[in-house]
Symmetry: none
Subunit: 234 residues, 2 copies
Amino acid sequence: MEKKKVLIIEDDPEITNLLDIHLKDLQCESISAADGKTGYDLAVAEKPDLIILDISLPEMDGIEVCQKVRASQKTPIIMLTAKSEEIDRVLGLEVGADDYITKPFSIREFTARVKAIFRRTKFIQESLSEDASQIIEFEGLYIDIEKRKVLKEEERVDLSPKEFELLVLMASHPGKSYTRSDLLKIIWGYDFDGYEHTVNSHINRLRAKLEPDMADPKYILTTWGVGYKFNEEL
Amino acid sequence: MEKKKVLIIEDDPEITNLLDIHLKDLQCESISAADGKTGYDLAVAEKPDLIILDISLPEMDGIEVCQKVRASQKTPIIMLTAKSEEIDRVLGLEVGADDYITKPFSIREFTARVKAIFRRTKFIQESLSEDASQIIEFEGLYIDIEKRKVLKEEERVDLSPKEFELLVLMASHPGKSYTRSDLLKIIWGYDFDGYEHTVNSHINRLRAKLEPDMADPKYILTTWGVGYKFNEEL
DNA sequence: TTTCGCTGTGAACATTTTGTGATAACTTTT
DNA sequence: AAAAGTTATCACAAAATGTTCACAGCGAAA
């Protein structure tokens, strides 16, 4: 099946970039606009399969964009709102968004919503239907994402929330290196303001629970000068 | 038997999401629309096996959608009405809806109605007829859902309504973690506005009645940072 | 009405997780 | 080999999360 096209209308480049990365993960092609007017034009011209729309935008308000888009097409729309109060406004105006996400949001939440929309609107892609088998396996390592269960050599290991998220993210993309900054953005949220070396500690604790030999990690490898990655040769 | 397709026409994404999740539990595939017009189009194009239709909708009123759909097909329709709209309820029925549910409703009520519709309309699915074997057993624990009877080591235990519902829900899906928010939505209803920590108290009371050792729960486990789950290793 | 059990909440307490600083260990560069 | 830059480790306090318990409001049953 061909890739789905997603239009991101968002004025914060930081966020646009982040969403862009994760949409690619979901096998989506993405295009973006930094203001409402351009966004609307692109929505008309490009006929995307999904629109991610921030509420507060320069040039044309997100709600207005939503209404105008809806007047001519039924492309699913996910709205991003800064405060929960704004949701009421969206709902009240009955603009017809298919879902909304309040900032700050976690990437897991975002991708889950996107997948849900695609599932519901019938644009099911092979790669998206991974929801079924949420189990990742490697030599001596078993991860059941749904149940949050991790086994190391048949033995149950319990991980803290952050440890679990780190493991799942990296194990889902073996070989892909993440910088500490990537990890902070993805797992802690793009608004986290703390030190990057916080990640080190978490990786360290995760390794302590998973690795048979701390001196020579088997699963979570260090990419010197870059960050960390899950071993792809397993 | 193949999956049943359910179309949700509802403008509140929160509710759409919730229904979506529980329809999946019932082995149904769901598609959705956030406004009446799109909803009607999908009803025609996708030929769903069941339509969940909110009465108040943007673009095209739920009643109108119902009438138009009924003009061309006999797909079962369940209407959702807000409490105050007593009048609309009658109207909805005259229009030919097969059932109606007034908001706010509990998820148990919703799934029961959906099952009933499928049963009535002869779309009986293996997975839906789980009503038959309503007995769950684990080491030292026996639950007869039908009779609302719970035995702990052969001894009868009586549970309050909420305790019983919590137990049944979780024991029906061992290993699956539920967040406090999930539990509130499913058991208390999506409109419950109270504190999440209310769940803690109920879990606590339930444990007090079930667990042989409170310090080390055997049945109801805590998933730190997430919520609770029923022990799958029994 | 009175009684009684169920519920939601607040508060005190217990536990786990997490961010950070300090320091050691390791790589690369000079 | 020393210096500079990165990563690993570890202990600790603060923050987040869970547990327990008492109590008052409520509604149903007696």
